[in-house]
């Protein structure tokens, strides 16, 4: 249950683009008719599609230089096992308007399809299908919408926002507490939202990471293994501590966000990765959540 240590063969450089950015999470059903061999062609079509969408009603020739450059590439390093498909990275960048070619393109949007130890989704599926159930997007939603629509149209797949339930958030809180990180780390923060109020009220609960770790170590029975019961005990301890001081029952509120040194996750399906060491582990958990939303 605990995320395995990242594979040795992954090159942290190649996945570093994921770190310290906010990613919006989606689940994606298997892509039909997708092939790694045609990424360049896809980039051409997608770039023309984006141009056509932005100037509705005007036709666009495929293959010419357009304002927005599209790059589609595969990242073989981003996977859990050999049975996972290679991750696909889509990047949109703005060409500098009428300036010398060497001036830098500005990255405006990126999206990443991946599957980390999600191979059980592809079991029994015909070869025409490519399973990359987790999609992460960073950038303006208007681009997510256009790129998503193009993928939906072209590969007959379905995108759905991947919300993270409070139950899964508490799992993340417990799991990430137990992870070893360098000393200079920030506090672990849990944010709760109080339901049924006429105005929004959020409660922020910050805990020193070493205290949290100490608590978790007393709760966890077998290292490397986590049970639902242990997670419940851990959260209950935090709740009762809070109640002792503030007389507020956090169990009656909704956990909406968990921030630790490993990553921070929001229930709306937004995540920020902070540690490259645990990237694969977090992605594996998210892949699992995405698959359960598809099936």
């Amino acid at each position: 249950l605990f995320p395995p240590p990242p594979q040795d063969n992954t090159d942290p450089q190649k996945t570093a683009f994921l770190l310290r950015k906010q990613w919006t999470l989606y689940s994606v059903t298997p892509l039909y008719g997708f092939s790694n061999a045609h990424l360049k062609h896809y980039a051409r079509l997608l770039s023309a599609f984006i141009a056509a969408e932005k100037q509705k009603g005007l036709a666009v020739e495929v293959g010419v230089e357009l304002d927005i450059k599209v790059a589609v590439s595969s990242i073989p390093d981003l996977k859990g096992s050999d049975r996972d498909q290679d991750a696909i990275l889509v990047q949109l960048s703005l060409r500098p308007p009428a300036s010398p070619k060497n001036s830098e393109e500005k990255l405006v949007w990126s999206g990443c399809f991946c599957s980390v130890s999600g191979d059980h989704l592809s079991e029994n599926l015909p070869e025409d299908f490519t399973c990359l159930p987790l999609f992460l997007a960073n950038g303006a939603e208007s681009y997510t919408s256009i790129v998503g629509s193009w993928f939906q149209k072209t590969f007959d797949c379905c995108f759905r926002r991947l919300a993270i339930s409070p139950l899964n958030l508490s799992w993340m809180a417990a799991m990430w507490t137990g992870c070893q990180v360098d000393k200079t780390t920030s506090a672990m923060e849990l944010i709760f939202s109080v339901p049924c109020l006429p105005y929004p009220l959020d409660i922020s609960y910050a805990i020193h990471p070493e205290d949290a770790k100490a608590l978790w170590d007393t709760v966890q029975k077998t290292p490397g293994e986590i049970t639902q019961e242990e997670v419940d005990v851990f959260m209950d301890c935090l709740y009762s501590h809070f109640h002792r001081h503030f007389k507020i029952h956090l169990s009656a509120t909704k956990l909406v966000k968990v921030s630790t040194a490993i990553a921070s996750a929001h229930c709306d399906g937004i995540i920020k990765f902070l540690q490259s060491k645990y990237l694969a582990g977090v992605l594996m958990l998210l892949t699992e959540l995405a698959i359960s939303q598809i099936q």
Binding site: A52, G57, L58, T154, C158, I294
Partner: protein, 751 residues
């Protein structure tokens, strides 16, 4: 393609018109020798009139063929006369194919004044077809531009309007480049675009043409005719050009039919069957978005559009096989069943499978092509859409209930069309039923229930029966009735599935593991027991409501006939909680239904027993003796009630009517024995009353005991004539009436 195909249907008339284009005699002869017409006198009068018209038309045509130089219309009576002749004949009957060459040539050569040319062009209405050669020569006249701009425009409009009447189009297709060059003329551009739209085939789409159109687009801005042509180019070659059409477009081309509209309609009416209908544009415009929602949370069934997925591979294949891609038929153009039949070998599924839901032709195709990935694509899309849009599972989606209803309705219709349930629907029901309030989208959800595929029982129990029961017992009478009806349809769908697979099984002898006969029998039995149980409870909750009883008995009308109608070795009797309320019902509709059901049970059981005896071999499935025993108990109770007035003594069912005489006497009812026979039964008393009034109009004492002996038979006849056919078949089959006395032998009724 529709256009080409429709032109082919028109090819048949005048076969030799190429050779004798101006020789009208052939045409006239053809008319004269028509045997039918020479018979009738008024017909021949018509013929004479026709003949004179023919002559004058012939004269007019030869005049126009020979006319030289500019002739003024005002001063020239001859020209006026011939022009009027052409006009009147054209508008009344249309021109023969041979006329077009001459008239087009003269109209486009600029010999005559524009007013004449205009009138000539406006009268170019075909009686049957327009020969391709005349159009080709007209286009060559157009290219030398001897005529004025107005005439050029009018000719193009004429060509667009008459496009489907041209007998052949190969040579016109060869002129594609000529037409294309006219695009640079600003006035002609809209009409040329329309014409090119009609002419374009996949091979016409070339990169240089795309670039040319894009240049025009830069010059002229957003123009609907350019958009339409470019969209067609995109349809054929999505790898070269792309365009997103704005949502609100309705017309892409200016109406060019104007001057010929009435005449064209007349021609169409004349040759109804073979008349080409104007092709509606099949451009996929963006669906109007009624509201702002996040991009992927809007319920849209995608439009059918060609899959652009395999282009690269096709290019490679093309080196080997030149036909591979060109042959595939774009789904956007699939509009008729005959097109489907003609292109079924090179049709591709649309890029988004969800679009088949609204396209019956593709559903037909889907039914033929049993492809696993087709179902998988549909499965994923539908599963996600149902979950995302489910109004009672997803917060804040209440306002979209109508849309969701429509969607469920569409899914249900598709299931009916395909005669099978979708597994994504089944999963959706299992996931969402526990959260359902029983009100939201009620009829749609209950309809979907009827298409739950045969699965395994434990799954159905925990995901379907259990949550359904909670809603069932706590909801209104009408909800209960709807649930029973859905379950009846579910049962019928399962039984139909069984019958169909029984047929196909004879070929293969193999059944997939989860649908063995015993598996099916168990599932069906569980369903029937489930309905029996909820019916018993519901009848108590609703005080044996007639309406509810009607739906329950309707369910059993299917159950009682499973052996004979569906070839399923299973018969299950209704529980006592259903049987007795029906037997003692206050309403004759229910009683009549029960009689019919018991008659069918008897027929099925007798057939089963005969089968068992005749085959002698040990059958895998045998009705248990308990079924026969239950049937016999019920039949004794029924005959005892309705006929022999002995139910209180003879009923042997543990939950039956058997009662001690002592007890019955305490009720102080005088004639308790007869109180449930066909005269005194509360459901029948109305009939008895009417019968008495008719048989003894003067008697006002309502003496029911008069109905006996011969009168009893008359009464029976009267009942049968009142439409109680269930009662009729029951009495005729289950009651031995050899001894006409009222003491019939119930034993005989037993199986």
């Amino acid at each position: 393609m529709h256009r080409r195909q429709s032109s082919e249907t028109l090819k048949k008339p005048p076969q030799d018109h190429h050779k004798n284009q101006t020789d009208l005699s052939a045409w006239r002869k053809g008319r004269r020798t028509d045997p039918k017409k020479s018979v009738q006198s008024h017909q021949s009068l018509n013929d004479k009139k026709n003949d004179s018209e023919q002559d004058s038309l012939e004269e007019a045509l030869s005049y126009f063929e020979q006319v030289q130089g500019r002739v003024s219309l005002k001063k020239n009576n001859v020209l006026q006369k011939h022009l009027t002749t052409v006009e009147s004949i054209a508008l009344q009957r249309g021109l023969p194919p041979e006329g077009f060459d001459v008239l087009l040539k003269v109209a486009l050569s600029g010999k005559l004044a524009d007013t004449v040319n205009t009138r000539l062009l406006k009268s170019l209405v075909p009686a049957s077809v327009i020969p391709e050669t005349s159009v080709v020569s007209a286009v060559s006249w157009l290219c030398v531009s001897k005529c004025s701009g107005n005439i050029q425009l009018l000719f193009l409009r004429w060509l667009i309007t008459m496009f489907d009447f041209i007998d052949r189009k190969e040579e016109i297709h060869a002129l594609y480049g000529f037409f294309f060059s006219f695009l640079q003329d600003e006035k002609m551009c809209p009409y040329v675009c329309h014409l090119l739209y009609l002419l374009t085939r996949k091979e016409s789409v070339k990169p240089f043409r795309i670039r040319r159109l894009l240049d025009l687009q830069v010059k002229m801005g957003m123009q609907s005719h350019l958009q339409a042509l470019l969209s067609l180019y995109k349809l054929f070659c999505p790898e070269l050009v792309t365009i997103t059409l704005p949502g609100k477009m309705k017309t892409y081309f200016k109406n060019s039919e104007g001057p010929w509209k009435a005449a064209i309609n007349a021609v169409r009416q004349r040759n109804q069957a073979s008349s080409p209908v104007f092709q509606t544009l099949f451009l996929g415009t963006a669906q109007p978005q009624s509201r702002k929602r996040k991009w992927n949370t809007q319920l849209i069934i995608p439009a059918s559009s060609t899959n652009i997925n395999n282009i690269e591979e096709d290019r490679k294949k093309n080196c080997v096989n030149l036909y591979s891609r060109d042959e595939s038929f774009p789904v956007e153009q699939l509009q008729t069943f005959s097109q489907l039949l003609q292109n079924i070998h090179h049709l591709e599924f649309p890029s988004q499978m969800g679009s088949v839901l609204t396209n019956p032709l593709l559903l037909h195709y889907m039914n033929c092509i049993k492809d696993e990935s087709v179902y998988l694509r549909l499965y994923y899309w539908m599963g996600q859409t149902l979950q995302e849009e489910c109004t009672w599972c997803v917060a804040d989606s209440k306002q979209y209930e109508e849309e969701f209803k429509d969607f469920l309705e569409t899914v249900y219709k598709t299931e009916c069309f395909l005669q099978e349930g979708f597994s994504s629907c089944e999963e959706f029901l299992y996931k969402s039923l526990p959260l359902w309030d029983g009100i939201c989208c009620r009829s749609q959800v209950l309809r979907l229930v009827s298409w739950i595929p045969l699965g395994n029982f434990s799954e159905m129990k925990s995901h379907f029966y259990d949550p359904l029961v909670q809603l069932f017992f706590t909801s209104s009478l009408y909800f209960k009735c709807s649930v029973i009806e859905s379950l009846k349809e579910l049962l019928q769908n399962w039984l139909n599935w069984h019958v169909i697979h029984l047929d196909s099984e004879s070929d293969s002898q193999v059944r997939s593991s989860n649908t063995t006969l015993s598996g099916l029998v168990n599932m069906v039995a569980e369903l029937i027991h489930f309905v029996g149980w909820i019916s018993t409870v519901a009848l108590r909750l609703e005080n044996n409501h007639t309406f509810l009883l009607y739906f329950i008995l309707d369910f059993y009308e299917t159950v009682c006939d499973m052996y004979l109608r569906y070839n399923l070795p299973l018969l299950i009797m209704p529980p006592a909680g259903v049987f007795y309320p029906a037997l003692l019902s206050m309403d004759c509709v229910n009683l009549n239904q029960l009689c019919y059901i018991m008659y069918r049970y008897r027929t099925n059981l007798v057939a089963a027993k005969e089968n068992e005896l005749s085959k002698k071999q040990i059958l895998q499935f045998k009705f248990s003796s308990q079924t026969y025993q239950e049937y016999n108990q019920y039949i004794i109770a029924m005959v005892g009630c309705l006929w022999t007035s002995s139910a209180f003594q003879k009923d042997t069912h543990p939950q039956g009517l058997r009662m001690d005489d002592e007890l019955l006497k305490k009720t102080a009812v005088k004639e308790f024995k007869t109180s449930f026979n066909i005269v005194y039964h509360p459901a029948m008393m109305g009939y008895a009353l009417h019968f008495l009034q008719q048989a003894w109009p003067d008697d006002t004492t309502f003496n029911f005991s008069l109905i006996k002996g011969k009168k009893w038979n008359w009464y029976l006849e009267y009942l049968y004539s009142q439409g109680l056919t269930g009662l009729k078949v029951f009495i005729e089959s289950s009651i031995n009436r050899v001894s006409q006395a009222s003491h019939s032998n119930a034993e005989n009724a037993q199986v």
